[in-house]
């Protein structure tokens, strides 16, 4: 199983760098994924607002939310999401929130 090592900790991920066991996600994992995969040294309150929403949405519907829903829930304009997560909503924000890779051309 591929894995990433960050701050001396080891996280199992799939080939795309998404969490191998999405159910094992916690805030520590989010911080480590953000650092290793998105180059974010620290997660701000704004990052957390997006990540928590995605996580709750996923736990409820077993589905990645559309970027429209992320913006509605957090009140952020669209561009803010790309500013916060350099790889964008799918490969950035959803990854930090511990979701599996969304299906399709992403």
């Amino acid at each position: 199983m591929p894995h990433i090592e960050v701050d001396g900790k080891r996280i199992e991920v799939n080939e795309e760098g998404f969490l191998a066991h999405p159910e094992e996600w916690n805030e520590e994992t989010a911080r480590l994924l953000a650092k290793a995969e998105e180059g974010l040294e620290a997660l701000t309150a704004e990052h957390w607002a997006v990540v928590r929403f995605i996580r709750e949405y996923y736990m409820e519907k077993n589905l990645a939310p559309m970027v429209r829903k992320m913006c509605q829930a957090t009140g952020f304009p669209l561009m803010k999401i790309y500013d916060l997560f350099p790889s964008g909503p799918a490969k950035g924000a959803c990854k930090v929130a511990g979701l599996p890779k969304p299906d399709g051309c992403v």
Partner: protein, 449 residues
């Protein structure tokens, strides 16, 4: 097997089902590709898999194609019955063999057709690969990612299972964003409006994860005074039938688009920047769907070129001062014959456009083509052989790499991240939208990227 008689199989007899399908589906052009290869090796030199792993013969297109050819020779072609050792006929024994075949045709080929383009005998290895994928897909021997997306396209009419409500809401949202940006309520993103000049069809990722491109399109259509609409159904121009080799799925998805245009009496179909969607909707879909399509179908880049050529939109290239290089999508340049149009547009909207080498129909794949982006299991090999693409990108010295394919956007982003290149991926619409001069608008305002 006689016509009209139902053949039954023992459960799990995948080999026999595969061989029967192979015999039934073989066409003249496939038979040529099955028999014309002289093993000259030119295809190897054109394949980024082989160039990145020159000591591994299994990376050569000829070897990959031989794995289906030897089955054809053994069971279908008469030469295999007369001289099997001479034509290298080979058995297909069990599920293990089928699985190995799956890993070859899905996992070690992005179906970019660069080898096809360079074959002196006219062997279409890309066609062989897609054909073999189609046989395996029929048996359910298919990577999970391709399966999931195909299921979503069958069930919901779009590859990301976007609901109609979500689709409409996102379009309204983007309409409001463009209204705010341009400071006018006259901007619209119409849905299901009849008798328009343009029926605009998109990639579901634009709705689900990146609607900026819809805003760019709306802005340009507004500036050009275009009469345009998106359809409420039949808006997904992408087509996983191309990747899975399933012509039935290909027909269903393409027909949705053609019928939307007919229903709304649109004058032409315009396809947003998507490589495989362009090839599927513009070229392959008519045959899959057996559809007598009379409307012109074009890429939005062709539309942009027309607007610029006719003076319907004005641009200021100084707003795109960074060095831009262009990445030809395989499905657009090699398989779609759309090569000079994007360059014509880029030279007018950027100040520093530079080619990468090789380019045009000889360009290397982004490495994510043929549906590989949705097959996580093959990613390590994909990124390893991407070193060819990375070197090609790095040599341009450009800050931006522009492509007219969403799949290439993600494929190139993966290469850039993995090989730590100082580049960003953009699309043609984004650069045109950036450079667009809209009359009466406060031009000091920073344009949205």
């Amino acid at each position: 097997m006689k016509e009209g008689r139902l053949r039954t199989y023992e459960p799990g007899d995948n080999v026999q089902r595969f061989l029967d399908l192979l015999g039934r589906r073989i066409t003249r052009s496939l038979a040529v590709s099955m028999t014309a290869c002289v093993h000259c090796g030119l295809c190897a030199e054109s394949c980024h898999y082989f160039l990145a792993r020159p000591d591994d013969p299994t990376m050569a297109p000829v070897w990959k194609a031989d794995q289906i050819r030897k089955i054809f020779k053994k069971y279908i072609d008469w030469t295999g019955r007369v001289a099997p050792w001479w034509v290298k006929a080979g058995s297909l024994r069990d599920d293990e063999d089928l699985n190995r075949l799956k890993n070859i045709v899905f996992g070690s080929c992005s179906a970019c057709r660069r080898c096809t383009y360079n074959c002196p005998m006219g062997v279409d290895t890309g066609l062989l690969v897609r054909f073999t994928r189609g046989l395996l897909t029929e048996l359910g021997i298919v990577p999970e990612g391709v399966f999931n997306v195909s299921r979503d396209q069958w069930e919901t009419g779009n590859q990301m299972a976007v609901t109609e409500q979500d689709y409409l809401e996102t379009l309204e949202w983007m309409r409001d964003e463009v209204r705010t940006e341009l400071g006018t309520a006259s901007v619209d993103i119409p849905v299901d409006k009849p008798d328009c000049e343009v029926l605009y069809t998109i990639n579901p990722r634009e709705i689900k994860f990146d609607p900026r491109s819809i805003a760019h399109a709306a802005k340009v259509f507004h500036a050009a005074g275009e009469s345009w609409t998106l359809p409420k159904w039949g808006w997904d121009q992408t087509n996983f039938g191309l990747f899975s080799g399933d012509d039935k799925l290909g027909a269903y998805v393409a027909r949705n688009v053609y019928e939307a245009a007919e229903r709304l009496r649109a004058k032409r179909i315009v396809i947003s920047e998507c490589g495989h969607g362009y090839r599927s909707t513009r070229w392959e879909g008519y045959n899959w769907a057996d559809y007598d399509q009379k409307l012109p179908t074009e890429s939005v880049v062709v539309t942009l070129k027309r607007y610029l050529g006719e003076g319907r939109i004005a641009v200021d290239p100084s707003r795109n001062p960074d060095a831009v290089t262009f990445h030809d999508s395989c499905n657009i340049a090699r398989s779609g014959d759309l090569v000079e149009e994007p360059r014509w547009v880029l030279r007018r909207v950027c100040t520093d456009f530079r080619e990468m080498f090789p380019n045009r129909r000889e360009n290397f794949c982004c490495t994510g083509g043929g549906g590989l982006l949705s097959m996580a299991e093959y990613r390590p090999l994909r990124l390893e052989v991407a070193k060819i693409k990375a070197e090609q990108l790095r040599a341009t010295g450009a800050k931006l790499v522009c492509t007219m394919c969403h799949n290439c956007v993600d494929g190139l982003n993966d290469v850039i991240k993995h090989y730590k290149l100082p580049m960003r991926v953009v699309q043609v619409l984004e650069l045109v939208s950036n450079a667009l001069v809209v009359p009466g608008r406060n031009e000091t305002k920073k344009t949205a990227r």
